[in-house]
Symmetry: C2
């Protein structure tokens, strides 16, 4: 069969070999939405947006006052998007192993990811040619399942795991001398039951959007682009954000049925963000490239749903230390009231039990440490024994895991009443480089 006769909009270069990627040179950008037949006007508008796409994202540019589905967030800026961004509803998180030994190829991968991520977050296809046009004998440079879907507030956040810098005591890519002291594999915590196939990784991609297909499309295309340079190590879908990062959002519920993340650091409190989230310039002599970035702690926390569901409300509230209905501390008030850890009940016990989760994690009991959490609920089917494989995919951005996560988790593993109902099955730590300006590539400071 000849290849051209039934294609009604056959491009001129039919049959030509696929051109090498030409990052940043915008050409005939095809918007996802524009491919809907009826969306001619939308096409024009978005194509214009695409042509100027790399000028978008200055820090001054805020999200459009559009309906949620059509919302876009700037890709470029002082910090990477997807941290302070109001938490979107859906997640696809992926960890990659770098399979090339070439530093140049690693840098090229990051450049290619930057181009694709900048495009996709603005509602465009992953590549300049698009899913349905271009060289007919070459694989499309976008996979097509997001054709017709709105940008859905997609953010793409990229990070570097400790093994990108060194492994088995050897430097990789000449980066060992730039590995921050804080960027080490997380220690073994009590009650950890980690699956290596759900842990660690050289690179990570956090794709958040209000449409799961948009988030999946983003990760899938970045995996496609990585072919021969990095391979998908593991990935996780999530739904029902369990924290809010903005005072404009309500606190949502985890699969224990409780509000989660009430005490979260919010974007509207820049002092708290500076203190607890961003890595300062003088944090670490080897990690100066990470200034303005953050650390992302990843924990896949299974819940023993069936056991939890058979506990009385009293037990559930006791181990959390808050009411289920409102999320108020058991010592009274509303969701955002501070618990009084000294207030006693009618017996000798304090109202907030000594092993209550809220007591152990509260900043007042952890040298003031707070996290910016961005976790999601997950259900990955069942485990073959009639139990749901479900829980919380915990994501937290912190200034330093040694002060803001490890001691707290160590304490939880030893003394948290909640840990009876939890099992940690995945774990990873990534350094999240700062944001970039148009013309730069993500993580560029590391390689400078």
């Amino acid at each position: 069969m000849t290849s051209t006769q039934y294609l009604r909009e056959q491009p001129a270069e039919t049959g030509a070999p696929a051109p090498a990627p030409e990052p940043r040179k915008e050409r005939a950008a095809v918007s996802r939405r524009g491919l809907l037949g009826a969306a001619g006007a939308g096409l024009a508008g978005l194509a214009a947006g695409a042509a100027g796409g790399f000028a978008l994202g200055s820090e001054e540019t805020t999200s459009s006052p559009q309906t949620p589905g059509t919302r876009t967030y700037p890709f470029y800026g002082e910090h990477q998007a997807g941290i302070l961004t109001p938490v979107q509803d859906r997640l696809h998180f992926a960890a990659f192993d770098v399979i090339t030994n070439s530093r140049a190829e690693l840098v090229e991968l990051l450049k290619d990811w930057t181009v694709a991520a900048a495009r996709m977050t603005q509602g465009l296809g992953a590549g300049e040619v698009g899913p349905t046009s271009g060289p007919y004998l070459a694989p499309p440079d976008d996979t097509g399942e997001a054709i017709g879907l709105a940008p859905a507030g997609l953010t793409i956040t990229v990070g570097f795991g400790p093994t990108l810098f060194s492994a088995d005591g050897k430097s990789r890519f000449g980066l060992a001398g730039r590995q921050p002291d804080a960027l080490q594999r997380l220690p073994h915590f009590p009650a950890d039951k980690l699956d290596p196939q759900r842990s660690d990784g050289d690179l990570c991609v956090q794709a958040c959007a209000d449409d799961p297909q948009v988030a999946v499309h983003a990760v899938r295309n970045l995996a496609r682009i990585a072919f021969g340079r990095a391979a998908l190590r593991w990935s996780q879908l999530g739904f029902g954000r369990t924290s809010s990062t903005s005072t404009s959002q309500t606190t949502s519920r985890n699969l224990m049925g409780f509000k989660d993340g009430t005490m979260n650091v919010k974007a509207e409190d820049p002092a708290a963000v500076d203190t607890h989230v961003w890595v300062p310039a003088d944090a670490d002599s080897k990690g100066s490239w990470l200034a303005g970035g953050s650390y992302l702690v990843v924990r896949r926390i299974n819940m023993t749903i069936e056991t939890w569901d058979r506990q009385p409300l009293s037990e559930q509230e006791r181990v959390i230390g808050r009411t289920k209905a409102e999320g108020a501390p058991l010592t009274g008030g509303g969701e955002f009231s501070q618990p009084d850890f000294h207030l006693g009940g009618s017996d000798e016990e304090p109202l907030v039990a000594t092993d209550a989760h809220v007591r152990l994690v509260h900043p007042s009991n952890n040298n003031g440490a707070k996290m910016l959490r961005r976790g999601y609920n997950f259900v990955d089917g069942s485990d073959g024994l009639g139990r749901m494989d479900a829980g919380l995919f915990f994501l937290a951005y912190v200034r330093d895991p040694r002060t803001h996560f490890i001691p707290i988790q160590m304490k939880l593993g030893l003394g948290d009443g909640l840990s009876e109902y939890l099992q940690h099955t995945g774990s990873a730590l990534f350094a999240i480089p700062s944001g970039i300006a148009p013309g730069e590539y993500v993580g560029q400071a590391l390689f400078a």
Copy 2:
């Protein structure tokens, strides 16, 4: 600690043992939305709705003209909801093994499921007491993660697998004599690589909603209610519906990037629905109880995403037989144009290849058989070898699998060009009983 002092709305029966379920007697119904502090008016409105909840769902009642999130569909009616209902965006599908040998306990389970399903589809908690009130020392009769979430168009559809009727040559629950001839385990198809832990089951629950947390909440609570009587065998989450069941919906795309389900039976074509979906009263002497019901074919179809993504557009379109952009047949026209299977190209081959998917599945090549498909995309992480565990969770409602599915799938397994990129990893068949009236329980006709 005493149990009452911090609960501001402690019910009178504090400390009393949990009352036995009292199906259909409405009492102090707590709406999910009403538990939001600010939603006092909503509480009143929904509580009223709850009190009348079992009067809802007559066939005349159509879905409310509300925004998508607050939409509800009637639970009661001539047919179960979730078949002709315009396909919602998210799916949680679950298969259960019945673990009791008591027919009475099985019937009680179906009664309990009916009560909970009728409530949850109307935006209420699974039980009358609710997630955060009631006997303080008893487990809540709702798990709470849907508090504050809108009904999200939830439908719950229940079915019976062949093993509910007989297993190992023996009758179960006295039902062997009522097992329809068509309700047999699906045969082994070429290219099947089935995982027993993702196949079969005595009972199934299809929960569809526009919010995944609402669908998950429904399945999780039905699993909780089943405790001791039925155990979760496997479950599957899906997103991005890949078919439409209404002409009011556009055709969406599967993870191959192509429109999927263009030829689907639509609710607006009642003649086609009657011909292809509903089981007629005289279909089967043993299966007369299934009149007005349907058969649900379930196939978990993995796609070799990475291989597919490296194929040229020409190959992708050749094996599908349609264009990727519009989904038009390769012989021209638009998405809904009929393909001309005889039209030749410039060489000896027909324009729609002899092994093109559209040719093999087209009704004109299958004695006119059509299906009502309701499938979803899925991504379940990766497989440990760097490949996405992703594809299409195929759900199709048909009048008889022996005429409307098995011969077509057998042909596809042998000759479909697409099968090079597919692997069937799960399979099941369920009989879906007709709908019920208030006061009845789902599947009641089977036990009459």
